[in-house]
C-alpha cells in the first residue's frame, strides 16, 4: 500500500498538469535531490565523481537529446556523437577565441552550433524515412568526424590534432581544465543537466511534444490533422542537436579535458543510443536509468574480479565486459522492449494495485 494513488484527487486542470501529480513521486524526487546536492558531494571520492557521477549525468543528457529526436519525434539517428563533437569543438573555439567568455555561457551557447548543423542534416528527413534516414545521420557522423580531423582551424592547428581544454575560471574558481576540481565540475554538470532536463520535460509534455509524438506515431495522419511535418521534424532536430551539443561540450570541458576527433566516432553514438533505448524511447527519466546502467555496469564489472579476488587479465575482463553489455542489452530488450522507464512504470502500476493481483 506504499504506492497508493487513491485519494489524491485533482481539482483543476492546472494541478493535473503539475509535474508530479502523485505525491510519492515528488517525495522520490526530493530524496534524489538530497543525494545529488548534499550526500554525493560530501561523500563521493574523486574516482566516483570521475567514473560514475559526472559521466552518468553527461551521458544522460546526450541520451535525452537523442531521445527527443528518436524517442519523441521518431527520427532514428546514428550520428549523435558527431553532434556532440560539434558542440565540443564550438565550445573550444569560443573559449580560445574569446577567453573572457563565461565558460557556462560558452557551453550553453555551443549547443546553438550543433543545432544549426543538426537542422542542416535533418532536412533530408522530410523525404527520407526510417532506416533510410539513418543514412543522413551516418553521413553527418562520418563527414563531421572527418572534418574535425582535416580542418586544422578547429583545433587551433595543434600538432596532435586534439583539442585540449584550457584552465578556465569562473568567480575565481577553476571550473574547467586540469586545475578544476571534480566537485566543482560535478556541480556545473548537475546544474546544466537539471536545467536542460527541466526544459525537455516542459517541451515534451506540451504542444511541441505532442507534435513530435504525433509525427513519430504516424506522420501521414499527423500531417492530415494539421501538423507541419517540416517544422515538427526540424524543431526536433534543432532541440535534439542543441542538447546533444551541450552534452558534447560538457563531455569534453567538464569531464574528459581533451578530445581527439576519433572520440566522436560511431561507438559513442551507439553508446548513447543504447542508453536511450535501454532507458526507454520516449521517456525523459529513462535516459537517466539507462545511463546508470550503461555507464555504471562496466565500472562494476571491472571492479568485480578484483573484489572477488579472481585473477583474470584486464583484457579478458574487457572482453567479458563487452560480452556482458551485449547480453544485457538483449536481456533488457526481451524483458521490456520499452525500456527501463517502462519497467519502472509497470512496477508502479503493480505497486498501485498491490496487494491485489489485478
Amino acid at each position: 500500500m506504499l504506492y497508493r494513488t487513491a485519494g489524491q484527487f485533482k481539482t483543476s486542470y492546472n494541478s493535473d498538469q503539475a509535474l508530479f501529480p502523485i505525491k510519492q513521486d515528488a517525495f522520490l524526487l526530493g530524496v534524489i535531490l538530497l543525494f545529488a546536492l548534499v550526500i554525493f558531494p560530501l561523500t563521493a571520492s574523486e574516482f566516483t565523481f570521475q567514473t560514475i557521477l559526472i559521466p552518468i549525468m553527461i551521458y544522460s543528457l546526450a541520451a535525452l537529446g537523442l531521445n527527443i529526436l528518436t524517442g519523441f519525434a521518431g527520427q532514428l539517428s546514428l550520428g549523435t556523437a558527431a553532434f556532440m563533437g560539434v558542440g565540443a569543438y564550438a565550445c573550444y573555439k569560443m573559449v580560445t577565441l574569446m577567453p573572457w567568455m563565461n565558460p557556462i555561457v560558452a557551453i550553453l551557447f555551443s549547443g546553438v552550433f550543433s543545432a544549426g548543423v543538426g537542422v542542416a542534416f535533418g532536412i533530408p528527413s522530410l523525404r527520407i524515412k526510417g532506416f533510410y534516414l539513418a543514412i543522413a545521420t551516418l553521413a553527418a557522423q562520418f563527414f563531421l568526424v572527418w572534418l574535425f580531423e582535416k580542418w586544422a582551424w578547429l583545433y587551433n592547428y595543434n600538432a596532435s590534432g586534439a583539442i585540449q581544454v584550457p584552465n578556465l575560471k569562473m568567480f575565481g574558481v577553476y571550473i574547467a581544465g586540469p586545475q578544476a576540481s571534480s566537485v566543482v565540475q560535478y556541480f556545473v554538470v548537475l546544474f546544466i543537466v537539471s536545467l536542460l532536463t527541466m526544459v525537455c520535460i516542459n517541451l515534451t509534455r506540451g504542444n511541441l511534444g505532442r507534435t513530435w509524438k504525433a509525427t513519430r506515431d504516424m506522420d501521414i495522419a499527423a500531417e492530415l490533422i494539421g501538423i507541419n511535418l517540416m517544422k515538427s521534424k526540424l524543431t526536433a532536430f534543432a532541440v535534439s542537436s542543441y542538447i546533444v551539443g551541450v552534452a558534447g561540450a560538457l563531455f569534453v570541458f567538464m569531464w574528459r579535458g581533451a578530445a581527439e576527433p576519433n572520440l566522436f566516432d560511431i561507438p559513442l553514438s551507439f553508446r548513447v543510443l543504447f542508453i536511450a533505448i535501454i532507458g526507454g524511447l520516449g521517456s525523459v527519466m529513462g535516459n537517466f536509468l539507462g545511463a546508470i546502467l550503461i555507464v555504471g555496469l562496466p565500472v562494476v564489472l571491472n571492479l568485480l574480479p578484483a573484489a572477488l579476488g579472481i585473477p583474470i587479465s584486464s583484457a579478458t575482463v574487457e572482453h567479458l565486459n563487452i560480452m556482458c553489455i551485449g547480453s544485457l542489452i538483449i536481456f533488457f530488450l526481451i524483458v521490456e522492449p520499452h525500456g527501463l522507464a517502462q519497467l519502472w512504470k509497470l512496477i508502479r502500476e503493480k505497486l498501485i494495485i498491490w496487494p491485489f493481483p489485478h
Binding site: 528518436t70 532514428l76 533530408p124 523525404r127 527520407i128 524515412k129 526510417g130 532506416f131 533510410y132 539513418a134 543514412i135 543522413a136 551516418l138 553521413a139 557522423q141 562520418f142 563527414f143 568526424v145 572527418w146 580531423e149 582535416k150 501521414i220 495522419a221 492530415l224 560511431i266 551507439f270 543510443l273 543504447f274 533505448i277 524511447l281 583484457a315 579478458t316 572482453h319 567479458l320 565486459n321 563487452i322 560480452m323 556482458c324 553489455i325 551485449g326 547480453s327 544485457l328 542489452i329 538483449i330 530488450l333 526481451i334 522492449p337
Partner: protein, 317 residues
C-alpha cells in the same frame, strides 16, 4: 579552383588511362566485397525487418573460426565444413535466444538487439581467438594468389588472381540467391515475413525455420566474405569496420533488394575510389572514403527515398 574540380581530374584520367583502369578495378573489387556484406544484410532484412548490424562481425567471426580451426591442425576443407557447422549453430542460437522472444517488436528494438549480438560476438570472439592479426589460409584453400600484369597503352595494370576469384565467386553467389528468393516457396515466405510477422504466423509460416535458414545463409555469405577480405587484408577484428561500408551500399541499393546490394556495392566501390583519387586526395586532404559513400547514398535517397531498387514505401490512410 574550377579547373581543379572540373578539368584537371579528367585530364589526369586521360593522361594515364592505365592508372584509371587500375583505379576502376580496385573500386570494382572493393565494391564486390561491400556488396557481399550487404547481401547478408538484405536477406535478413527481408525476412525479418531486422537491420542486422551483426553481419559485419559475423564475417570476422566466420573467418576467425576458419583460421582458428585450421591452426588446430584440421585440414583446410574440413575446417570450412566445421565453420559452416558453427555458423549454423550460431544461427540457431540467435533465433532461439534473441529473435524468438522479440517477435513483433518495433524495428529499432530489433536493430538494437543486433547490436547486442555484435557486442557479444566481439567479446566472445576475442576471448576465444585472441586479438592478434591472423593470416587467412588462402593457399591451403586452393585460392590462386599470383597476379597478372598487363600493359595497356604501355602502362601498368596489376590484377590479383585473388581479386578475380572473388569477383567470380561473388557473382555466382548472387545468382543463386536471386533464384532462391524469386522462384521458391521459401523465397516467397521470406518476403511475406518481412511485411507482417503476425500475418505470416497466422498463415503458418514458421518463423523459426525461416529465420534459422536465413541467418544460416547469411552465415555462409559471411564466411565467403571473410575468406575474401581475410585473404586481402588479414583476419582481425579491425575487419569489423568494413561492415559500416555495407550500410550506404544497402541504402543506396534499397534495403530489400539483392540486385540493389550488388549495384549499390559496385557503384559505391568505384565512385568512392574515383572521388578519393581524383578529387579527395588532391583537393580535400584525402580520406574521403570514410564519408563519400554515405553522402552519395544520401544524395540518391533524396530523389528515391527507397533507394535505387528498394520497395516503394506504401503510404495509405
Amino acid at each position: 579552383m574550377l579547373n581543379d574540380i572540373f578539368i584537371a581530374p579528367f585530364a589526369d584520367m586521360i593522361a594515364a588511362p592505365d592508372f584509371l583502369l587500375q583505379v576502376l578495378w580496385e573500386g570494382l573489387v572493393s565494391g564486390i566485397l561491400y556488396a557481399l556484406i550487404a547481401l547478408g544484410f538484405v536477406l535478413i532484412f527481408r525476412s525479418s525487418r531486422i537491420f542486422n548490424f551483426a553481419q559485419g562481425i559475423m564475417v570476422v567471426f566466420a573467418a576467425l573460426t576458419l583460421v582458428g580451426l585450421h591452426a588446430m591442425g584440421i585440414p583446410a576443407w574440413i575446417s570450412v565444413a566445421l565453420t559452416l557447422g558453427v555458423m549454423f549453430i550460431l544461427a540457431v542460437s540467435i533465433e532461439r535466444i534473441v529473435l524468438r522472444p522479440l517477435v513483433g517488436q518495433p524495428d529499432i528494438i530489433l536493430f538494437m538487439a543486433s547490436i547486442g549480438i555484435t557486442l557479444f560476438l566481439i567479446g566472445g570472439g576475442e576471448i576465444i581467438f585472441g586479438g592478434e592479426n591472423k593470416v587467412m589460409i588462402t593457399e591451403e584453400l586452393g585460392i590462386p594468389t599470383g597476379d597478372t600484369v598487363l600493359e595497356p597503352w604501355g602502362g601498368l595494370l596489376i590484377l590479383q588472381h585473388l581479386d578475380i576469384t572473388v569477383v567470380l565467386v561473388a557473382s555466382a553467389l548472387v545468382a543463386a540467391l536471386l533464384a532462391f528468393l524469386n522462384y521458391t516457396q521459401m523465397g516467397r515466405a521470406i518476403r511475406a515475413l518481412g511485411d507482417d510477422h503476425q500475418a505470416a504466423l497466422s498463415v503458418g509460416i514458421s518463423l523459426q525455420t525461416v529465420w534459422v535458414l536465413v541467418w544460416f545463409i547469411a552465415g555462409i555469405i559471411a564466411l565467403v566474405t571473410g575468406i575474401a577480405w581475410g585473404a586481402r587484408a588479414g583476419v582481425s577484428f579491425a575487419l569489423e569496420v568494413i561492415a559500416y561500408k555495407a550500410l550506404p551500399v544497402l541504402m543506396l541499393g534499397g534495403l530489400e533488394s539483392i540486385t540493389g546490394a550488388i549495384i549499390g556495392g559496385l557503384l559505391i566501390g568505384i565512385l568512392e575510389k574515383l572521388f578519393e583519387i581524383y578529387w579527395g586526395q588532391p583537393l580535400l586532404g584525402g580520406n574521403t572514403e570514410t564519408w563519400f559513400a554515405f553522402v552519395l547514398a544520401l544524395f540518391v535517397l533524396l530523389f528515391r527515398p527507397q533507394g535505387l531498387f528498394g520497395e516503394k514505401i506504401i503510404e495509405r490512410v
